[in-house]
C-alpha cells in the first residue's frame, strides 16, 4: 500500500546476519533486481531472522507470508532425505564435487519444492566443514568418549560412527559449552569458526572438507507468476548471477577464513592419512544409510553424481 508508483514490494526473510557472505550476496541480488527492473520489483532483505526465524522461513514463503526467502537446504532433511544429500559426510569434498553433486540433485530438489508451490532460484554453498578440537586428532580412536557437537540426525550419526559422544549444543551456547567443558569438539565451516572466534576455546582446525552444505533462495510460485514477463526475466537473470557470484565468494571465503583461523593462533592441519581413510569409511557407511532412506530418487541422484 506504500510507494508512489506501480511497484511490487517483496519482503525477503533470511536467517543469517549481515556480515555473512550469503547475506551480502543476497543484498547484492536485491540491488541487481531493483536496478534491472527500474525499481518496479523492490526486495527488502530482512536478515538475521528478523522477520521470521530460520525454522519458519520455508513455510512462510509457501504460505505467502513472504514471497521470497533463504534457507539452509539440509535443514529440511527431516521432511525429505533428498534435502540432506549435500550434507552426507565425505560424499563431495571439494567445490568441483559439490558443484557436480548440486547439478545431479538440483532437478530432484526443485521438483520437491514445486510440489509445495515453491520455485528454486539459486543455491550457494558454505565453505567445507572441518573438525575443531582441543588437540590434533590423527586417528579416530582418539575420538573415543570425546563430546562432539551434534545438532541434527546426521551430525549425531557422524559423532557416533567416530566413536564420540554426540552432544546437543545450540549455536549461541557454543563458547560457553566449550569453555565449561560440556563439549570438546565440533564440525563446522571456517566461517562459523571465525564468527564464534573458535580460538578462544579450541586450538586445532582439521581441514577435513567433510561436506559443503548449501543455502537456497526460494520464491513462492504464485508471487512469481504475478510478476510481469520482464520482471520475471530480470529476477531469473539476477539469480543466475547471484549463484555464480555466491560460489566464487564461498571459495574465496574458505581461503580467507581458514587464514584468519591460523592468524589467530589456531593450528590448521590436513587430516592424517589414517584419519582420512577412517573418515572415508564413515562417509561410505553414511552414504549407504542415506540411500536406504532416500530410496530410488536418492539412488538416481547418486548415480547421476557418480557418472
Amino acid at each position: 500500500a506504500t510507494g508512489a508508483f506501480a511497484q511490487t514490494a517483496w519482503d525477503m526473510p533470511t536467517p543469517y546476519g549481515d556480515s555473512i557472505f550469503h547475506t551480502a550476496n543476497i543484498m547484492e541480488f536485491a540491488d541487481d533486481v531493483r536496478e534491472a527492473t527500474d525499481g518496479s520489483l523492490d526486495i527488502t532483505v530482512h536478515s538475521a531472522g528478523s522477520l521470521f526465524g530460520h525454522p519458519e522461513i520455508k513455510d512462510a514463503v509457501r504460505r505467502q507470508l513472504a514471497p521470497i526467502g533463504e534457507v539452509l537446504i539440509s535443514r529440511l532433511s527431516n521432511e525429505n532425505p533428498l534435502y540432506g544429500v549435500d550434507s552426507i559426510p565425505f560424499l563431495a569434498t571439494s567445490y568441483d564435487e559439490a558443484r557436480a553433486l548440486w547439478e545431479a540433485s538440483e532437478p530432484a530438489i526443485a521438483a520437491l519444492l514445486e510440489e509445495e508451490g515453491l520455485k528454486l532460484l539459486f543455491a550457494v554453498p558454505w565453505p567445507p566443514q572441518g573438525i575443531y578440537a582441543g588437540e590434533e586428532v590423527t586417528d579416530a580412536a582418539q575420538m573415543d568418549g570425546v563430546r562432539f557437537r551434534a545438532y541434527n540426525a546426521a551430525t549425531e550419526r557422524l559423532a557416533t560412527l567416530m566413536g564420540a559422544v554426540p552432544t546437543q549444543v545450540e549455536a549461541g551456547d557454543i563458547p560457553t559449552a566449550f569453555s565449561t567443558g560440556r563439549v570438546d569438539a565440533m564440525i563446522t565451516s571456517p566461517s562459523t569458526g571465525v564468527a564464534s572466534q573458535a580460538w578462544d576455546f579450541v586450538s586445532v582446525y582439521h581441514d577435513t572438507r567433510a561436506w559443503l552444505p548449501k543455502n537456497m533462495v526460494i520464491v513462492n510460485m504464485s508471487a512469481f507468476e504475478a510478476l510481469s514477463a520482464d520482471e520475471q526475466a530480470a529476477l531469473m537473470a539476477a539469480a543466475d548471477e547471484a549463484e555464480a557470484r555466491g560460489w566464487a565468494m564461498s571459495e574465496e571465503e574458505t581461503g580467507s577464513k581458514t587464514d584468519t583461523l591460523a592468524e589467530n593462533g589456531m593450528g590448521v592441519v590436513e587430516p592424517s592419512a589414517t584419519l582420512a581413510a577412517q573418515l572415508g569409511e564413515i562417509g561410505e557407511t553414511m552414504t549407504n544409510e542415506w540411500l536406504e532412506s532416500a530410496g530410488e530418487a536418492g539412488q538416481a541422484v547418486i548415480d547421476a553424481y557418480r557418472m
Binding site: 525454522p55 513455510d59 509457501r62 504460505r63 535443514r75 527431516n78 521432511e79 509445495e116 568418549g145 551434534a150 545438532y151 541434527n152 540426525a153 549425531e156 559422544v165 554426540p166 552432544t167 546437543q168 545450540e170 560440556r182
Partner: protein, 198 residues
C-alpha cells in the same frame, strides 16, 4: 454448563503445569546424565552417555504448550496484566460498559487467533511438516496444544463477557482487587514514625 466450563479451565491449566514439570524432569535427566558421566570418567570407567535426544526442541514445544494452555486460568485469576486505572476511576455503570467493551475486543482477538492456530495445525498435517532436530517430531502435535490453549482462552473470554453482560462482575475482578490491596496498606504506622524519629 458452569461446572463443565470450570472443569475445562482447570484441566487446561493442569495440563500446562504438567508441561512445566516435564521440562524440569527432562532437563534434570540430562544434567544427571552428565554428573554420572563425570563421575564415571573420574573413576576411569566407560561413560553411560545418558542424554535426552532432541531435548532442546522438546522443551521448547512444552514451553509453548504450557504458555497457551494456561491462558484461560491466568485470565480468570487476573494474572494477565492490564492498565486498569481508567476502569477503576469511572462510576460502576460506566465501568460495566468498559469491561464489556474490552472483553468484546478480547474475545474477538482470542477467537481470531484460535481460528488461525487451528488452521496452522491443519496446514502442518497437510504438508507433514516436521521439526529439524535429531528426532523428527510432526509439528502438528505441539501446535495442537497452542491451538487448544487459544480455543479455551477464547471460550473463557466469551464466558467472562457473558458474565459481565448478565450479572455485571467478571471473575477476575475479585483477584484484581485483592492484588491491588497487597502492598498498598499504610506502610508506616504512627508508632513506627515516632520510633524512627527518636
Amino acid at each position: 454448563m458452569r461446572a463443565i466450563l470450570d472443569g475445562l479451565y482447570r484441566a487446561s491449566s493442569a495440563a500446562a503445569a504438567v508441561c512445566l514439570c516435564v521440562i524440569a524432569g527432562l532437563v534434570l535427566v540430562q544434567v544427571f546424565g552428565r554428573i554420572l558421566d563425570a563421575a564415571l570418567r573420574a573413576l576411569d570407567m566407560p561413560i553411560a552417555g545418558i542424554t535426552v535426544p532432541s531435548l532442546n526442541e522438546i522443551a521448547g514445544f512444552l514451553f509453548v504448550a504450557a504458555t497457551f494452555l494456561a491462558l484461560a486460568a491466568t485470565l480468570r485469576k487476573a494474572d494477565h496484566i492490564r492498565v486498569s486505572m481508567l476502569i477503576k476511576a469511572v462510576p460502576l455503570s460506566v465501568r460495566r460498559v468498559l469491561e464489556a467493551l474490552v472483553l468484546l475486543i478480547g474475545s474477538a482477538i482470542a477467537a481470531y487467533a484460535a481460528y488461525h492456530a487451528v488452521l496452522q495445525v491443519v496446514d502442518s498435517i497437510q504438508f507433514s511438516t516436521v521439526s529439524f532436530g535429531v528426532i523428527a517430531i510432526p509439528l502438528w502435535i505441539p501446535q495442537s496444544a497452542l491451538a487448544a490453549g487459544l480455543v479455551v482462552f477464547a471460550i473463557s473470554m466469551i464466558d467472562e463477557l457473558t458474565t459481565v453482560l448478565t450479572s455485571g462482575v467478571p471473575t477476575y475482578q475479585a483477584h484484581e482487587e485483592a492484588k491491588s490491596e497487597m502492598l498498598q496498606k499504610p506502610v508506616i504506622t504512627p508508632e513506627d514514625a515516632e520510633r524512627g524519629a527518636s
